[in-house]
């Protein structure tokens, strides 16, 4: 194992990208993820890569499109309003089946909102904030180390499925410093793909497009993408089950909230309340079955989220009425304390099932 480094989440994600072979980064500053930009501007030239500050998030996502089209490993990052501006581009990248990694360090919204942590872009990330039938693969780390691991995984998944992958964090995740280790450097040469653009030398020319004026042809394309995502749904569900087995109340939470929930669970168990945590790591594909199993076993569920009830809907879809699902949230940049979660779990535990 390599030495531990003490890094902020934003820096850890940036370094992880580089370790994963990312040599191209296009982005536009926005709090609370500026450190990703800044780290990349410092580090990429050192490894022979290119950092380019785009004129806007719209330009950044299409520069990412352009670089992705060559088959290179490429990343962009932003925070909520900037990610909204990328929605058209994200839809295009998904439609063109180009691999790339997009980081959203969510902040309070809507509008300019605030700069503090939020999880209110869940729908946008998982259901598709852009137009048309597509999905991002979405990974939500809850520690800096996991941010490293998932960022590296994100590049592999992007290549595997030729689909954009989002790493979804929040202001907290980006600013917090923790020890992180980097797995041994991945290979940095990636085999030429059969579709990438680099000049039609000794081969028929390649074409990256998303327009299919004939509806039946477009329908086929849509279904092919859906099929591919279906594979991801089968293979790429990731979650953590934390003290769920004997739990009476299972907290559903991801990212920052999930790690706060872990503290709450320790405290609750000291108070004699058997609490556990089911933590989606992949938000798309969502661990529906795992939640369904929890529901079937008769445990109560409390979803805690920094939004007014977004992942909550996916949990409800999973649970399908089989158990009661309570909901607790703080929004607008307020992070729920473990004391609040303790209180809510206790309430849930006391409710008649």
């Amino acid at each position: 194992m390599t030495e531990k480094r003490f890094m902020a989440g934003n820096e850890a994600i940036a370094e992880a990208a580089i370790q994963a072979g990312c040599r191209f980064y296009f982005g536009y500053p926005i709090t609370p993820q500026n450190e990703i930009c800044e780290y990349m501007s410092m580090r990429l030239p050192e490894v022979g890569g290119t950092f380019l500050q785009a004129e806007s998030e719209v330009a950044a996502i299409y520069m990412t499109f352009g670089a992705a089209g060559t088959g290179a490993r490429v990343m962009t990052s932003s925070s909520s309003p900037g990610i909204s501006l990328m929605q058209e581009g994200i839809s295009y990248i998904a439609a063109a089946e180009l691999p790339c990694v997009i980081v959203n360090m969510m902040r309070g919204g809507p509008g300019l909102g605030g700069i503090h942590p939020s999880q209110a872009d869940y729908f946008q990330a998982t259901k598709g904030g852009g137009h048309g039938d597509y999905h991002l693969l979405v990974l939500a780390p809850h520690t800096a180390q996991e941010a490293v691991n998932l960022t590296m995984l994100a590049f592999d998944l992007a290549d595997k499925y030729r689909n954009p992958v989002m790493v979804l964090g929040d202001g907290n995740m980006g600013q917090m410093m923790e020890p992180v280790e980097f797995p041994p450097p991945a290979k940095t040469e990636f085999s030429k793909k059969e579709w990438n653009l680099d000049g039609a030398r000794n081969r028929p020319r390649h074409l990256i497009k998303t327009l299919y004026l004939d509806p039946p042809v477009l329908e086929k394309r849509n279904l092919a993408i859906a099929h591919k995502l279906g594979e991801a749904v089968k293979n790429e569900v990731r979650f953590e089950s934390f003290m769920v087995d004997d739990a009476d109340v299972v907290i559903g939470a991801y990212g920052t909230v999930a790690r706060i929930a872990k503290t709450a669970i320790k405290l609750l168990r000291e108070n004699g309340v058997k609490a556990g945590l089911l933590r989606p790591i992949s938000l798309y594909p969502f661990p529906y079955q795992q939640f369904a199993k929890v529901a079937e076993s008769g445990k109560k569920i409390l979803v805690v989220e920094m939004s007014l009830g977004q992942m909550f809907q996916d949990v409800q879809l999973a649970v399908c009425g089989k158990t009661k699902v309570n909901f607790y949230s703080r929004v607008g940049g307020v992070v729920p304390g473990y004391d609040e979660i303790v209180r809510e779990v206790e309430k849930t535990a006391k409710e008649s099932g």
Binding site: F6, M176, M177, V335
Partner: protein, 192 residues
């Protein structure tokens, strides 16, 4: 987390003061040094747009187990270096918690009776040993002396690694740190 509820090594602390007082730095130093001792650590700043004159704070957690919440609604210790900070964080302290105030800036005394308050003229002490800017290190010394959460040697090494070569600068800082330790060792009871 609540004292007594956690087994093993565990400490959390909020450090707060004006922008330029170096609280972010001592927070990082503490976490870094503890990390080097093999402990789990988190450091999290309050953050905001670049606006001067505000009060900034950070939270450090050190533990021998994986750390859940990096944010601490009811901290075990607070280091406050100005008046707004004592207003903000004294009420949040746990019962029996540690309140370390820099009396060079904090002009009122503690209002709570259920906490262990120590007032440290950190700027005066730092000036005395040669560098008023090292008042933050005095406060960190005091904190480390009270909690023993990390060794003096680790802090020393951490300082070197974070700061690099500037020898004299390091010395002034370590001196200040030691003065901080001494101050509380004389004045207050160790909590652990």
């Amino acid at each position: 987390m609540e004292k007594g509820k956690v087994k093993g090594i565990y400490e959390d602390v909020i450090m707060a003061g004006f922008g330029g007082q170096g609280l972010m730095f001592i927070g990082k130093l503490l976490a870094y040094s503890a990390m080097k001792e093999g402990k789990h650590v988190t450091w999290i700043p309050s953050y905001g747009p670049e606006m001067r004159g505000g009060t900034a704070n950070c939270t450090v957690v050190v533990s021998d187990e994986e750390i859940g919440s990096p944010l601490i609604p009811r901290p075990r210790a607070v280091i406050v270096m100005n008046n707004p900070s004592i207003e903000a964080f004294e009420p949040k302290l746990q019962s029996d918690g540690l309140l370390l105030a820099n009396s060079s800036f904090v002009t009122r005394s503690a209002t709570r009776k259920d906490v262990q308050a120590t007032f440290i003229p950190a700027n005066e002490i730092a000036s005395r040993v040669g560098n008023e800017k090292a008042a933050n290190m005095v406060m960190l010394g005091a904190y480390v002396a009270c909690t023993n959460i990390v060794s003096k040697e680790s802090i020393n090494k951490g300082l070197e690694e974070l700061f690099g070569a500037k020898r004299e600068f390091l010395e002034a800082n370590m001196l200040a740190f030691e003065e901080g330790m001494k101050f509380v060792q004389e004045k207050c009871l160790k909590t652990k």
